[in-house]
Structure formats: structure tokens, C-alpha cells
Subunit: 206 residues, 2 copies
DNA sequence: TTATAATATGAGTGTTCGCTCACGTTTTCA
DNA sequence: TGAAAACGTGAGCGAACACTCATATTATAA
């Protein structure tokens, strides 16, 4: 049996300098994960990179997994914000165009910080606090579902939930695989076009 | 800089008992990975579970990553064999049927040993010997590409390589995500049907 | 039979890790 | 201004780790 892992901060940082330290620690976590991957990352290393003593780290986080969980949450929120605003911008425009914007957003998201994104995605299943962890991912799926629901009249979709799930994860995963196996693909317009074709044909957009 | 990691066996097991021990070690590696995940797995633990001394382990594998690499190769070969035979069985049948068989095969593959599959897939980007590691995955993609090429006249596909890549990874990844977030989906026929719809509509199968 | 190559063992070595705790510093606020 | 609360520090402890090596056992083949 895998023991349950603590992922909650021990103390809430109240003063400004403490909040800054917490952010520093998350920045360092990101850097170490990018550089060394998950299992070569250690709390000592993270504290050193952050320029923060190991004691301070343990004042706010009970361990490595908590740091990663918090980082996933922060990163997820940032990406979600970007996704939300992009979707908001084009919500009323023709469907084909919306799809293109969404796909481009996904690609852009991964291109920005692909190494970190990969490591975090890999760790999501392991970090205990799945409710929080999947929040941003689930929220994105919810936004897609809502959108599909709103314009269902223009689409050929029976099960909205399932369609949203499939659109969300097929796009995300293909982009993710592309990063791992052939990062050049992300730069090619043909790749984005094919992804759009995948979505539009599936949703029945003419 | 991430240092290069040795993933090659030190000695080839020549006698039968040695080959059996190597298989025992790989079995144990699978079990420990399933049970504890990658970063909680240790060479000592694997040796204990295998009922093999730690010294013997290091006679054939230079470390944990080598074990995992070898396991990925073995597992990949097994899955590829299953995939190959399924595809061979239905190669000449109508396209919609072929798609259904492929999709079912993917779902079956993941249902068989989902925990192990997840851990291994997560580790693929980290294990050094990518040529070998991606071999089975790449071989599966190649098979799909070949199949699409053979029957391109019946399909609406421009870039065969890209189409194979997208089909392969969208299906695999959606199934993969489903395991992580909602394993019940794998049991539902509606899920398999939607995946088939994704592929058939994308490839332009009527 | 016997020499030699292959295989197997696990206590032991040095390293790294997670994490605590006793103590010093800064901030808050009455 | 002074006391209390919040914050920060890093040496160091015990546990877990990767990996070695001297030694013992088994297989091969001349």
C-alpha cells in the first residue's frame, strides 16, 4: 500500500517577506525539476537554489511532494488564466476559428516551458491532493464542455461530457507527445492544422 | 546538465539460471514500480522482491534506470506483438472495423496492467536509451502509417506520417488520461465508440 | 576428476536524503 | 519601548540509498 502523503503547507506565510520566500521556493522547485527531473530533485537542493535555508522550507512545506503539488497548482492557475482569456476573446466567432485559437493556445502553452510542463504532467498522478491538482485541468475541460454545450446546435455531438473530455485530452496529449518525440513539430503550421482538423472533423464542424 | 546514464547490462547472462534471474529481476521491477512508483523504487527493494541478492542485480544491471529501460523494452515488445497480431487479423476488412479493433486493442492493453503502463510511460522520457525505448512505440506508429498508406485511396489523408502520429497518440493518450481520471470509462462501450468516431472522422472514413 | 569460467551472495562503505531543533533575527503591536 | 509573535538559520542525526568486493557455490569441458 502506498502511504498517504502530506501536501499541505504547515504554516501560512503571513508577512510579505514570508510570502516572497514561498514564491522563491516554488520558483526554485520549477528550476530544479526542469534541470534534474522529479526523482533527482531534493528538498536540500531546492532550498539551496532558492537561497533559502532548509529550515525555512520545512516551515511552509512538509516535503518534496507538497512543493510539487503547490507548484502544479500555481502553474495550472496561470495556464488556466491564459486559456480563459483566449477563449473569451473569440467565443462569438465562427467555430473553425475558435478551434484554431484553442489549438494554438495549447501549443503555445507547451512551447513556453515544455520541460517543466512535462515533469509536472508526469507527476500529477502521484501527488496526493488530486482534487486541487486536477482543478485547473478539470476547469479547462469544463470550459470546453460549456462552450460545446452553448453551440451544440452547430455541432454533431451526442454526449457533451465525453466530447469535451476527448477534445481536451487528445489535443493536449498529442502536443505533449510531440514535445517528447519531435519538438520541431510544434513550430510547423501543418501540425497545428492537422490538430484543428482532428477536432473539427470530430465535432462535425464544416 | 543531466549526466548520461548507463542503461546497458554489464554482462550477458549465458547460463539458463542466469537468464531466469534476469527475468525474475524484471518481474520484480514491474511489481515494485506498480506498488511504489518510480522514485520510491530502489535496487535493494527490487533485489529483495526478486529473491535475488543485490550483488547479482549489479552483475547484470548497472542501476535502476537500466532495469527500467530493460523492462520498458520487454513490455513494449509484448504489447507490440499483441498489437501486430490483432492488426494482422483484420487488415483486409472494412476500415471502420479495423479502427474498432485497433481502439479496442489499445483499451485492452491499458486495462491489463494500467498501473505499470502508466509508470513506464511516465519514465520513457527520462531513460537514456531512447532509440531502444521508443522502438516499440515507434514500431506501432510505423505499422499504422503503413496501413494508412496501403489504403490511402479509401481515406482523406494528405500527410500520412502526421496522420499516423496523431491517430496513434490521440488514442493512446485519451485512454491513458481516462485511466488516471476515470477508470470506469474504459469499461463503457460509449467511450470506445467515441474514440472510434474520433479516428474515423479524422481519417475521412464513411 | 579437476581446472576454470560463470554465477551467486550479502555484509559493509560512503553518500545523499529528509527532516528536526536550538538558537538568532525581524516584525508587530500594545 | 519592550515583549510576543513571526520568521530565518544551518549543523547534524538517523534512515535509506547505490554500489563494491571478498568469498562461496555451481556449471562446463578437457
Amino acid at each position: 500500500m502506498t502511504g498517504q502523503v502530506a501536501t499541505k503547507p504547515r504554516k501560512k506565510p503571513q508577512q510579505e517577506r514570508a510570502q516572497k520566500r514561498v514564491q522563491l521556493l516554488l520558483d526554485a522547485t520549477a528550476e530544479v525539476l526542469r534541470e534534474h527531473g522529479y526523482d533527482r530533485a531534493s528538498t536540500n537542493k531546492i532550498a539551496t537554489v532558492a537561497g533559502v535555508s532548509i529550515g525555512s522550507l520545512y516551515q511552509y512545506f512538509p516535503g518534496k511532494e507538497a512543493l510539487v503539488a503547490a507548484l502544479i497548482e500555481r502553474q495550472g492557475q496561470r495556464e488556466l488564466d491564459l486559456f480563459k482569456s483566449k477563449l473569451g476573446e473569440v467565443q462569438q466567432r465562427p467555430l473553425a476559428e475558435v478551434v484554431q485559437v484553442i489549438v494554438d493556445a495549447f501549443i503555445e502553452l507547451h512551447r513556453m516551458d515544455s520541460r517543466l510542463h512535462s515533469v509536472l504532467v508526469e507527476q500529477i498522478p502521484r501527488v496526493g491532493d488530486l482534487q486541487k491538482v486536477e482543478q485547473s485541468d478539470g476547469e479547462a475541460t469544463r470550459l470546453i464542455r460549456e462552450f460545446i454545450g452553448n453551440r451544440q446546435a452547430e455541432l454533431d455531438v451526442s454526449d457533451v461530457d465525453l466530447a469535451a473530455f476527448i477534445v481536451m485530452h487528445s489535443v493536449e496529449a498529442v502536443v505533449h507527445q510531440a514535445i517528447l518525440q519531435n519538438p520541431d513539430l510544434l513550430e510547423q503550421q501543418a501540425f497545428a492544422d492537422e490538430l484543428c482538423a482532428l477536432v473539427t472533423s470530430y465535432l462535425g464542424i464544416r
